[in-house]
């Protein structure tokens, strides 16, 4: 599976209600050693209503300036949430969450 | 914007660009519109004549290279020629005022074109005195074009 298959995929709860779309995959470098370093493990999904401006970083950093852009992008992503990978039941599409 | 919307916007943009680039002339349906076009033509003609005059004056002061003089004069002549051609290609409305305006401006443009040609010929032949002498015709022409431009504004 490619990272781009997962990014942009719809996310739904077990009862079928929509949560949003995957905007990013949060990784932790604590997997088995590959080459000289530990592998990157997918630890969580960042889920928001849409993508627009997500890559600018304002959705996950509270203090990045300038103020005007921050306010706009943070408003667009006010519903963003971090969903632990452990809560993912199936990668879908759509990505199904437990509970 | 949707994909289709963006494509349409692009087509529109290119179309508009082509339109502005080609700067279409077309018909003048009313005398008022015709006057407006005559006004613009007169002003453009003045610009070319004044450019030539400035170049000749500068050259007479010994301030201009022959190459720059030649290029300036021939560009002024080209520009003037295209103004004349554009004005001639406009279909005037069928009124006596328009006809009068047309013949008046047409006459001035014809004289201007021949003066500019004389200047260019003299400059290429390096006949400085003849050129300065010919340039004396420019100011009166400019004055008449200016009067026409004022009257049509």
């Amino acid at each position: 599976m490619r990272a781009s298959d997962l990014i942009g995929r719809d996310v739904v709860r077990a009862d079928g209600t929509a949560v949003g779309v995957v905007t990013d995959l949060r990784c932790v470098q604590d997997g088995p050693v590959r080459g000289a370093h530990a592998s990157l493990r997918i630890d969580a999904l960042l889920v928001s209503r849409h993508h627009v401006g997500s890559l600018l970083g304002y959705d996950r950093r509270k203090r990045q300036g300038p103020w005007l852009i921050r306010v706009i992008v943070r408003y667009l992503h006010r519903h963003m949430q971090v969903v632990p990978w452990a809560d993912v039941v199936s990668e879908g599409p759509p990505v199904r969450l437990r509970g | 914007m949707t994909r289709r919307g963006r494509g349409a916007a692009l087509v529109l943009l290119i179309g508009m660009l082509l339109l502005t680039l080609t700067g279409c002339v077309g018909n003048a349906r009313t005398t008022g519109a015709y006057r407006g076009k005559a006004h613009l033509s007169a002003e453009a003609a003045i610009s070319s004549l004044e450019t030539a005059l400035l170049a000749v004056q500068t050259s007479a002061k010994g301030n201009l290279f022959g190459s720059v003089l030649e290029v300036t004069l021939s560009q002024a002549e080209d520009d003037f020629g295209s103004v004349q051609q554009q004005f001639d290609s406009i279909q005037p409305p069928n009124t006596s005022e328009a006809d009068k305006l047309r013949s008046r401006l047409d006459d001035l443009l014809t004289r201007g074109a021949s003066t500019l040609a004389d200047l260019r010929i003299a400059a290429r032949r390096d006949q400085q005195d003849l050129m300065v002498h010919t340039a004396q015709d420019v100011q009166p022409l400019v004055n008449k074009l200016d009067a026409l431009a004022q009257a049509t504004s």
Binding site: L56, G57, L68 | A44, L54, L64, T72, V142
Partner: protein
């Protein structure tokens, strides 16, 4: 030695500031509107200083080129749209610069400019292929200082400087011009002063030369001292046109009309310097725009780029530059007037400006990348004000272009 280097940098920045867009637009506007639009050049000057400083700092800290970062921050799709738009505008400017060099050579030789175009194009390619970058940049920049002939001519015209200054500070639109045309040309001047390629080029040069934080001080000095002085040449051009061309009712549509006031006021020697300055400034800008087209594509796709490696090692980059050169030369050879191309290119520059200004502003605030070097509050305030100006100018440009029939 250090001082000499700094001085050289500043001089190059001054001489390199002006290109065909500044030459034509400032003279054209001066002849029609006097100094009543000089404020637009000044606003553009402040804008380019901010923009160049931010992108220079980003280049020094991240060591990444502009389009490398644009794709990263906007994603591949919006990044590609951005690349295509910026590339087209820069290629159009490239064509205008090649035409400008040819027109300047025509003035010097009275040989038709179309005959010069292939030669200019070949020579430009040869220099890009073979010659080291700092020689190109410094040579063109220093020779471009010959454009100070405009300043000398202005002085010889003995103008009432107080009156000129008053026109700048308290602008008053000439009664004969429409308000829409006035604003259209305000955007054109803004675009001429704030051309995006200057910034791609500046920051790509920084990446190639491996700027460190210490070099950053020198780069900053070049920007904050060199660019304003370069913009002063723009004001000189406009003032010469205001004093000599406007009273005579001359509308600028050829390069020779840009040169006439200088010859008229200051004579043959000044004219000779001026033509040298035309050739140097437009040729230098032709190299910069040509390279910038290659930089933009290579940085987006991650290809090896630059002048520090052998052409063999950056094949796709050199091919991209060559193809752009062929296309731009072809455009000029269609006999479309290069001055007309220039008039459009400056407005399209203003339209494309937000596409790269916005990502650079965001990245210069990115704590992961910039750490301690990120924008301060005062700078961010000013940069945000400019973001608004740039977006408004960009959005307004096309309706104004259509409405005024491109300033007719």
């Amino acid at each position: 030695m250090k001082l000499l280097q700094v001085a050289l940098g500043i001089l190059t920045a001054i001489g390199g500031f002006v290109d065909i867009g500044d030459l034509v637009t400032n003279a054209l506007v001066g002849a029609r509107f006097g100094m009543s639009l000089a404020w637009a050049t000044l606003v553009g000057m402040v804008g380019i200083c901010l923009y160049a400083e931010m992108s220079g700092r980003v280049a020094a800290v991240t060591r990444r080129g502009t389009f490398d970062l644009v794709r990263e921050r906007l994603g591949p799709r919006a990044g590609l749209a951005n690349l295509i738009a910026s590339y087209l505008v820069t290629a159009l400017t490239f064509a205008a610069e090649i035409g400008g060099v040819a027109l300047a050579l025509e003035l010097a030789t009275s040989v038709n400019y179309l005959l010069w175009v292939p030669l200019v194009a070949f020579f430009a390619w040869l220099l890009i292929w073979r010659v080291n970058f700092s020689i190109l940049e410094n040579g063109a920049g220093l020779l471009g200082l010959a454009l100070l002939a405009f300043g000398f001519a202005l002085w010889r015209l003995h103008p009432d400087f107080g009156h000129l200054a008053h026109q700048i500070i308290a602008p008053h639109k000439p009664g004969s011009e429409r308000l829409t045309t006035y604003w259209y040309y305000a955007i054109a001047l803004f675009g001429a002063a704030m051309t995006p390629y200057e910034v791609f080029f500046f920051s790509s040069g920084g990446v190639e030369e491996g700027w460190s934080r210490k070099d950053l001080m020198v780069a900053r000095l070049n920007v904050y001292v060199g660019f304003p002085l370069g913009a002063t040449i723009s004001l000189f051009i406009a003032a010469c046109a205001t004093l000599v061309l406007k009273p005579r009712g001359i509308e600028v549509d050829t390069l020779s009309q840009v040169a006439l006031p200088v010859a008229f006021a200051a004579g043959k020697v000044a004219l000779a310097f001026l033509i040298l300055g035309f050739v140097a400034a437009t040729f230098g800008a032709a190299l910069e725009t040509g390279l910038s087209c290659g930089y933009a594509a290579a940085q987006y796709f991650g290809w090896q780029w630059g002048k520090f490696v052998r052409p063999r090692q950056a094949s796709r980059f050199h091919l991209a530059v060559l193809l752009t050169l062929i296309a731009a030369t072809g455009l000029v050879l269609t006999t479309i007037d290069p001055v007309k191309i220039t008039e459009y290119s400056v407005v399209f520059s203003a339209i494309a400006l937000p596409l790269t200004y916005f990502p650079i502003l965001v990245i210069s605030n990115d704590p992961d990348y910039m750490g301690e070097q990120k924008n301060g509050r005062a700078l961010n305030f000013l940069a945000t004000v400019f973001l608004v100006i740039i977006v408004v100018a960009s959005v307004a440009a096309i309706p104004l272009m259509i409405w005024t029939r491109a300033g007719q």
